[in-house]
Amino acid sequence: MTITEANPGYKGYKYVGTRLIRPDGLEKVTGKARFAADLNLAGQLHGAVVRSPHAHARIVSIDTSRAEAMPGVKSVITGDDFPSVDPGHRQYDMCVNIIARDKVFYEGHAVAAVAASTLEQARAAAAAVEVEYEALQAVLTIDEAMADDAPVLHSHMLTRGAEPPAEAPSNVASVTRFSGGDLEAGFAEADFVVEREFSTKPVHQGYIEPHACVADTGQDGHTTIWCSSQGHFNVRSSTATLLGWENTRIKVVPAEIGGGFGGKTTIYLEPLAAALSSQAGRPVKMVMTRSEVFRATGPAPCAKIRVKFGARSDGAIVAADAHLIYSNGAYQGAGGMLGAMTVFESYKIPNFAVEALDVVVNTARSAAYRAPAAPLTAFATETVLDEIAEELGIDAMDLRLKNAVKEGDPSTMGFPLARVGFAECLEAIRSHPHFSAPLGPNQGRGLAAGYWFNIGESSSAIVNLNEDGTATVVTGSPDIGGSRASMALMAAEELGIDPHDIRPVVGDTEAVGFTDITEGSRATFATGRAVVEACRNMVIELRGRAATMMEAEVGDIDWVDGHAVYTGDGDSEGKEPLSLAVIAGKAKRTGGPLTATGSLEAHGAGPSFTVHLCDVEVDPETGVVSIVRYTAAQDAGTAIHPSYVEGQIQGGVAQGVGWALNEEYIYDSDGVMENPGFLDYRVPVASDLPMIDAVIVEVPNPAHPYGVRGVGEAGIVPPIPAVANAIHSATGCRIRDLPMSPVRVLEAITAAGARANGG
């Protein structure tokens, strides 16, 4: 017998592709869902963090005695309470970011923490911790960081990838270079060459839930941490690393997570809470204020980008050169490297070179943000392609179709691409009514494409069948966008039972096998595969139990639509099909509880391409840009739950539009963030956006049993250039600096008007 191997992308599924009401939805619409800040333990203390007022300073001394003597204070910790960490340690940056040791590297950097009976007491005591600083010159911009006489942030940091190898430390953390073909010959072949520069500002992921946790250390030292994160196994190992504890000493229970977008792939509070709880012998709750979230967590890197493209008059891109500098905040990051891997990845360019630098500056340590680095390289590539199309008199869509990568084309990294759905996304937009709809006065239309790799990594799942034939599916992937619904649908498809009879849950670190962070658009792909594997192992077990019950050979039993069916040649008397529920009900008599696991390292994450079309209306008097229509087509491989695939696309668009038009960190000359709140750091609100038409394209990924590609990230890649191209279409102005705020747009319109008038 064979278990029916699901045909990748085959849409005859019974449950996959349906719009199940999410299993965790009821709790979320009734206010019962427990996010990290919603937990309170008996006897709990409240923690507060002492943060640096300086962007760059040496810590001369910390005196906690006055704070320790204050009412209600139970514990005060500083960097000295943690094991020292060597700069060569893989997680050095994370460790010294969570609590500073000798130096502070940005305004808001944690230097001490306090636990007290009430939050007010903790905050008062935190204000009473006396820290003496020796202020150092701060470097706040890429140019300052790379100046010859720039103060060096990290005396141990030698530029990785430098040729010849770096001998002296600098603020350049790494250099990444890719090339292919013959750049000079390529540009010589070009009929049109264009070179442009771009600049962007740091932006925040902007999750609505601030970081929060509760840590409770028992007398035996075992510590339980309830927290909001994209990966609780990572919280465990990172906390253990910082404290010098074994993993088994820590249990991390995932609370519901109120948004992450990459910003909760790293940790900030948990080791502090665990150390405070360990000292005080009481549970400690820590919740960041919104100001702390902005100042001390997450921003995505900003960049300066220079690109040069050469095209033949027929529209073929024959050469491209890029120079990228990403500012990753206070510690080394991967912005530049990821930028280098994405800047030319969407197009077949025979001759190219990329050089990418990652630099450090005295601003908060950057964190991943949805398709890290790619929105900025797309801003450069996709707006310059638009310019090429205009110059050559070729339709912007045709230019992209002509150059789009397809299966077998070499990636920037050299390997031939597997099956991808880029051309299909372009065609989906071209055939959409939006593409040919008329535009009104002051309106313009912009087209842009985007790409993201997606990743696989490790996942674990457990399937337990209950006595009544229902099932519990436990995974280790925090659910940030509806993944539990997808797990239930895939398990239902495999087991052949109704998804309403399946309870998908996210298990704590002691309840399920190791699972990597929910990042890289991997949950439905990789954890989904673990669920499928667990279910297939369960089906093998169920067939065996049915064989026992039918007194038949297991090889003569098939699993069909939730039933064990006898297919042998023998007497079929007494061998009627047995439902999963009947087999589950007799589990005690056939061998005991029915449980199966799946755990794997998921190879073969399929890249996701996406193409966006944006209409804007620009007010020529004020420079205000309104998004009037938006359509986004994205290759999902197979949409397990179409509503949440659409949701990922729509959410990515909204974030990208915010990045394009409004969002930016504003620092004063000392490196203090001037807009650490949602009033002055303006994310899009409902009245800023139209409906976002999400078109799901399905080109199955052969490495997933249902053809899934990750969908979480790619949607944020094209909005910035789509908006920029639309603004150009409406006004004739090319804006290459973010954000494209009313002031900047108005300046561009005014300057263009002056030029037109011979000014």
Binding site: G161, E163, T176, R177, F178, S179, G180, Q205, F261, G262, G263, T265, A334, M337, L338, A340, M341, A367, A368, Y369, R370, A371, P372, S411, T412, M413, G414, F415, P416, L417, A418, R419, W452, F453, N454, I455, G456, E457, E519, G520, S521, R522, E601, H603, G604, A605, P702, A703, G710, E713
Partner: protein, 82 residues
């Protein structure tokens, strides 16, 4: 197993810029050992932060991934995500 190795352009320092080389090994880890013998320094470059692509399959942690004779092995930088 004798395989054809393709290095992404950022990994070609130790080969003096050569993109395609020959190597052998039962798995990727053994292959890297062989490449280190041929091109001192290449092993270090390939052991961390590097993935491979074989037959279109991206493998993030390939040390023990078995190689078939004649395989095309592409070494590429490891990607990440948010």
């Amino acid at each position: 197993m004798a395989v054809r190795v393709h290095l992404s352009s950022n990994l070609r320092g130790p080969t003096g810029g050569v993109a395609e080389i020959e190597g052998s090994g039962a798995n990727v880890g053994a292959l890297i050992g062989d490449l280190e013998r041929q091109y001192p320094g290449l092993g270090d470059a390939l052991r961390s932060g590097v993935s491979v692509v074989i037959d279109g399959l991206l493998i993030a942690h390939p040390q023990y991934y078995r190689l078939a004779d004649g395989a095309q092995v592409f070494f590429v930088p490891q990607s990440a995500g948010g």
